[in-house]
């Protein structure tokens, strides 16, 4: 079973605020899912290569030059900022 501290540590890494009752619930739920996942230990994997994609993936390159975009698409993105100042994204200060 995962400890309360472990769950709180993962929640912090994941940047998720959880209530105390939720920490307890997730402790139980994650533990039972991890118990189920434990059966992977029985699979014979020595010498087996890992698969990240089912098909062969190649990097796609393009020339390193500026591509002109429409002002309209820029406006659409800026409109979605929760906070903006003079067309720039605004966040809380960190210092």
């Amino acid at each position: 079973m995962l400890t309360k501290q472990e769950v709180e540590h993962i929640a912090k890494l994941a940047r998720l605020e959880l209530s105390q009752s939720e920490v307890k619930k997730i402790q139980k739920e994650l533990s039972s899912i991890l118990d189920y996942i434990d059966q992977l230990k029985k699979a014979a994997i020595s010498g087996v290569q890992p698969t990240s994609h089912s098909i062969f993936i190649e990097n796609v390159m393009r020339e390193d030059k500026l591509i002109a975009r429409k002002l309209e698409s820029k406006r659409k993105l800026i409109e979605k900022f929760p906070a903006a100042k003079e067309g720039y994204l605004k966040t809380k200060s960190i210092l």
Partner: protein, 480 residues
């Protein structure tokens, strides 16, 4: 036959022969949605203005005697995790409640070019995470065959909307069974194409190595038409590929096809008939396989020995990718933001803590744990190796056979509320669909029977990029 009951091919003929206008066709669906969706809850957003103005445009094309593509004027519904420019796209999450899509997904762009009529956006489990559509932050979709039951998920809105004749076809996405399982539970045809066959650009990412856009239709013929329209390489999705195998274009005589379905060998894996499976479902699946045998198709029992590990490997790989993909929802760039938070860290914590629903938080936690220091090898790397074993099982099997038949799900649809409190139990309802995503194969759910009033689907799996074989055998079954 009512206008809203037509298939794509039939609606196209009717439009061309001017038996009805596109406006009449579109209105028949919009009326049905406004009268009946209050019982089904399949739509999150309805777009009548877009639909009606597009319908008028198609009527003009027809009036001008322009040659119209097969999909011109065909009304469809789109899962609300696929972007349509200018239309709200929520992924059924509170974190994207007011998000207006700034561009079209590639599939939407391709379909728009052919003149389709977009009716609206359909409900799903939040960020496509779930098997019942109960994880939507907005509403629970009901199964049109019995309103006390779930429609399946996560593309439950798309499957229920099609089954209710709210559209002629619908788009969905499938990461672990999210098109095939709801298609099976609703008794319609659902295709998950080969990984890479259809561009994912403009699909809200969940687990990028598994996600695939696909479709839900009334017939296999319709599936063939829509798949032909959306497949192909896209420079905006580096994982999309142009198939080296030429899928037969719609309309080409089947007699000219190289592949002769009667000579095809079909495998039935013994690992897909497990203890705990609903005996009535097993009987329907076995009867449908028998029907293929009666048509002269050779059926052979095969073994996919690593099947038992698929679900466990999936529940490491998928949440790991989820935890990385969903890091972008930070309350800073777009979407829900807790502006009153004290500090930057609290903006992250509170926006995500409040904006994401329970299942999404659970999967982010699981994925973060699996990828965290000290656990990577024990979980993620091990799961990726097991993924190789699962893929090799299929490769070996496909050396001797052309297609694989299995059930889509061990049970028919379950009751609303039945599994929602037990995440592991919910995950197990995808036990037969997940291996296909891990191996990147194409698979289709074909309705083959009912247990009382609840439909049951047969899963047809093919080699990568051999969707055509699935269509051939599927159409053959429909013609029995």
């Amino acid at each position: 036959m009512k206008l809203y009951e037509l298939t794509i091919a039939k609606a196209h003929r009717g439009l061309k022969k001017k038996e009805f206008s596109c406006l009449e066709l579109t209105k028949s669906f919009l009326d049905r949605i406004s009268n009946l969706d209050k019982k089904i809850f399949s739509f999150l957003t309805i777009t009548p203005d877009i639909a009606l103005s597009q319908a008028k445009k198609i009527d003009d094309w027809i009036l001008q005697k322009r040659e119209i593509p097969l999909l011109a004027g065909i009304p469809l519904a789109i899962k609300d995790n696929i972007l349509v420019e200018g239309v709200r796209c929520t992924a059924a999450s509170k974190i994207l409640e007011n998000y207006i899509a700034p561009y079209d997904a590639t599939v939407v762009k391709r379909l728009k070019k052919l003149g389709v009529v977009i009716l609206g956006k359909t409900n799903l489990d939040e960020f496509a995470m779930g098997s019942s559509t109960e994880n939507s932050a907005y509403k629970v979709t009901h199964n049109p065959h019995d309103l006390n039951y779930i429609p399946g998920g996560s593309s439950g809105g798309s499957a229920a909307a099609l089954t209710s004749n709210f559209c002629i076809f619908s788009l969905g996405s499938d990461t672990g069974g999210s098109i095939r399982q709801p298609a099976s539970f609703c008794g319609v045809v659902g295709l998950k194409p080969t990984y890479g066959a259809v561009s994912r650009y403009g699909l809200i990412s969940m687990a990028s190595s598994l996600d695939q856009i696909g479709l839900i239709t009334k017939t296999v013929e319709d599936t063939k038409i829509v798949f032909g329209a959306i497949k192909g390489k896209d420079s905006l999705d580096s994982t999309s590929v142009e198939s080296k195998i030429r899928n037969q274009p719609y309309g080409e005589s089947r007699a000219t096809a190289k592949f002769e379905i009667r000579n095809c060998k079909v495998g039935v894996p013994k690992e897909y008939f497990i203890e705990g499976m609903d005996p009535a479902v097993e009987k329907i699946i076995k009867n449908s396989i028998k029907k293929f045998e009666d048509l002269g198709i050779k059926i052979k029992e095969i073994s996919l020995p690593h099947t038992k590990y698929a679900l466990a490997a999936y529940y490491i790989i998928m949440p790991s990718e989820v935890s990385a993909n969903l890091a972008r929802y930070d309350g800073i760039k777009y979407g829900f933001s807790k502006k009153k938070a004290q500090s930057l860290l609290n903006v992250y914590l509170e926006s995500r803590g409040e904006g994401f629903g329970e299942e999404v938080r659970r999967r982010i936690m699981l994925g973060t744990y699996a990828l965290s220091a000290g656990y990577y090898e024990a979980y993620y790397l091990r799961a990726q190796k097991v993924r190789t074993l699962i893929q090799e099982d299929f490769k070996k099997a496909f050396q001797k056979i052309d297609l694989i038949l299995t059930p889509v799900s061990p049970t028919p649809a379950f009751k609303i509320g039945e599994k929602i409190t037990d995440p592991l139990k919910m995950y197990l309802s995808d036990v037969f669909t997940i291996a296909v995503n891990l191996a990147g194969l194409p698979a289709l759910s074909l309705p083959v029977g009912k247990v009382s009033n609840l439909p049951v689907g047969l899963q047809i799996i093919a080699r990568p990029f051999e969707e055509d074989k699935i269509f051939e055998i599927g159409q053959m079954f429909e013609q029995i």
